[in-house]
């Protein structure tokens, strides 16, 4: 019935497939946008990035730009391999090259991390977005931006704990890695995983990827990486892009991967209590003012006050200020 996720290394089926990632699989939608009533339950998928295997060839980065038909600007080389210099609305993934002097072993290590959307189970971008249906999450865990509904406010950029989404400077919509939702929808793995020559990127069900990660971690430990581990941070309820890290005890050494990512309390406050309390306050004030306006007769001026004013104006010696001018 549903197309199972594929290990990306294999060739995809050639017969036409049917997309399984339509509206029928939407389980969350920004700003109360439409979700499926009985969402198709797809197995949770994940991309596993094994940093210890990555050689920084950027095949994945090129494959991503090709598959998604984005056109990153021609960059400027500043003496490091990182190019472009940051994620952009035209470059959904970026190899970040960290030069790390390991204080414990004294060794120099080159930690090459493939940066991009983590596809959080609890996505801060989706929570922050004010446009209904501009950000959706499918039942397999993929978080997708639906550009037709995006209004270009950039709230998602502030909501994301990983600093991922980027505003397109001319289209005024936000872009990020889609986990190749269009490929996954028809049973193919993501383009980046498919292109990776060392199979540092794998793709499959989240369970399978965890099993694979466990094997890799065991192997790394046997080679002296005692702190090797899986990056699947609990602060965002886990992610659908996971890393195998040699130093899982200090993710920040991988070009600032957050140690304990979670949706910021400020965002929670802004999207949480501020809205109902604010609306209630405005509602009570408006209704209260209207009620008092209708029920009370207000402050009225009577003939008496008009007479008093006339008296005051007439008896005030108007010339008192004028004396000097006569």
């Amino acid at each position: 019935m549903t197309t199972p996720p594929n290990m990306a290394a294999f060739n995809p089926p050639v017969q036409p497939g049917q997309s399984v990632l339509g509206q029928q699989a939407v389980v969350r939608s920004s700003a109360g946008g439409p979700v499926a009533e009985n969402p198709v339950q797809l197995p949770e998928v994940a991309k596993l990035i094994d940093i210890s295997k990555c050689i920084g060839c950027k095949a994945c980065q090129s494959a991503c730009a090709e598959w998604n038909d984005t056109h990153p600007e021609i960059g400027v080389n500043v003496g490091i391999y990182e190019n472009p210099h940051d994620l952009t609305a035209e470059m959904y993934t970026l190899m970040r090259f960290a030069e790390y002097d390991n204080p414990d072993s004294g060794d120099f290590e080159w930690l090459i991390r493939k940066d991009g959307c983590m596809h959080c189970a609890d996505p801060g971008c989706l929570k922050a977005c004010p446009a209904p249906g501009a950000i959706v999450q499918y039942s397999n865990g993929i978080v997708d931006f639906i550009s037709e509904n995006c209004i270009g406010c950039g709230y998602c950029i502030s909501g994301c704990p990983f600093d991922i989404p980027r505003m397109h400077p001319t289209k005024h919509v936000v872009k990020k890695c889609t986990l190749c939702s269009d490929r996954v929808a028809v049973g193919q793995g993501p383009a980046c995983a498919k292109a990776c020559p060392t199979q540092a990127i794998s793709f499959g069900t989240k369970d399978d990827m965890k099993t694979l990660a466990a094997e890799r971690i065991e192997d790394l430990k046997s080679r002296g990486y005692d702190e090797a581990g899986l990056y699947d941070p609990a602060g965002v309820d886990g992610t659908h892009v996971m890393y195998v890290l040699q130093h899982a005890d200090r993710p920040h050494v991988y070009s600032g991967l957050p140690d304990a990512p979670q949706i910021s309390d400020v965002v929670e406050g802004w999207k949480g209590p501020t809205k109902p309390i604010g609306l209630a306050a405005v509602g009570v004030a408006a209704v209260g003012a209207a009620a008092m306006g209708v029920l009370s007769r207000g402050s009225r001026i009577t003939e008496h006050e008009e007479r008093e004013a006339e008296g005051l104006v007439e008896t005030t010696p108007a010339a008192s200020d004028d004396r000097g001018h006569i």
Binding site: P130, I151, H172, V266, A289, G298, S299, E308, A309
Partner: protein, 228 residues
């Protein structure tokens, strides 16, 4: 010449039987209504982005993208309009001792016993609260709004700072809507007030009841004004 303590140079008594007093000149009235229109549009577009149940309001502006685009420009227009108003009105909105007495007797204001209250200049404490509330909140809204304006200032502040800016922006927006409600309510409740902003004048009785010091000063200056 007696100093102008409670009035503006353009305030004057226009007629004596019945007394009619000019409260606002043409520029300030036009500017007031321009600012008011900006405010209402800002409120509608802001609500659309504040809570999903109001997202439908974006239809008034031609969709979400236009709403996002136009809201900050309306904000700039409001800031300019308010700045002009601020310069004209700030002097008479400085808090004075009698404002505290007036506030302590707020119940007498509501129940219509203004005879128990001190005489006031051009503005009472409630009007001053609206004035300063608008001032500080517009300041907070523009200061936080600029770093939220991703189209022109994408890298002005870091993401954690922008989060705080957005939170302050939302809270200030709620507060300014409350001030707005107070302003509209008070203007309607105090009968005879609206014409100050439409025709520019109030009746003598209105001035006598609510702003007697102001009226006294204008009465005392009649000759001076005529001679000018």
């Amino acid at each position: 010449m007696a100093p102008r303590k409670f009035s503006e140079p353009t305030d004057r008594i226009l007629g004596t039987r019945p007394v009619e007093v000019r409260r606002y000149g043409a520029f300030i009235r036009v500017n007031h209504w321009f600012g008011a229109i900006c405010f209402v549009l800002l409120m509608l577009s802001g609500f659309a982005l504040f809570h999903p149940s109001f997202f439908g309001l974006t239809a008034l502006f031609g969709g979400g993208q236009t709403t996002r685009w136009i809201h900050p420009f309306l904000g700039i227009a409001l800031v300019i309009s308010f700045a002009a108003m601020f310069i004209q009105l700030v002097r008479l909105n400085i808090l004075r001792r009698e404002d505290l007495v007036w506030t302590a007797h707020i119940a007498d204001v509501i129940t219509g016993h203004e005879e128990r209250l001190p005489e006031l200049g051009k503005y009472n404490f409630g009007q001053k609260v609206v004035f300063w509330g608008m001032f500080w909140l517009i300041l907070a809204l523009v200061a936080t709004g600029i770093p939220m304006w991703v189209q022109y200032f994408p890298d002005l502040v870091s993401i954690p700072t922008r989060r705080i800016a957005i939170l302050i922006h939302s809270i200030s927006a709620v507060l300014i809507v409350l001030v707005f409600i107070l302003h509209v309510f008070a203007a309607l409740w105090t009968r005879g007030t609206i014409r100050a902003m439409t025709r520019g004048t109030v009746t003598g009785g209105w001035a006598w009841l609510h702003h007697r010091k102001w009226l006294r000063e204008l009465a005392g200056r009649r000759g001076t004004n005529a001679a000018e």
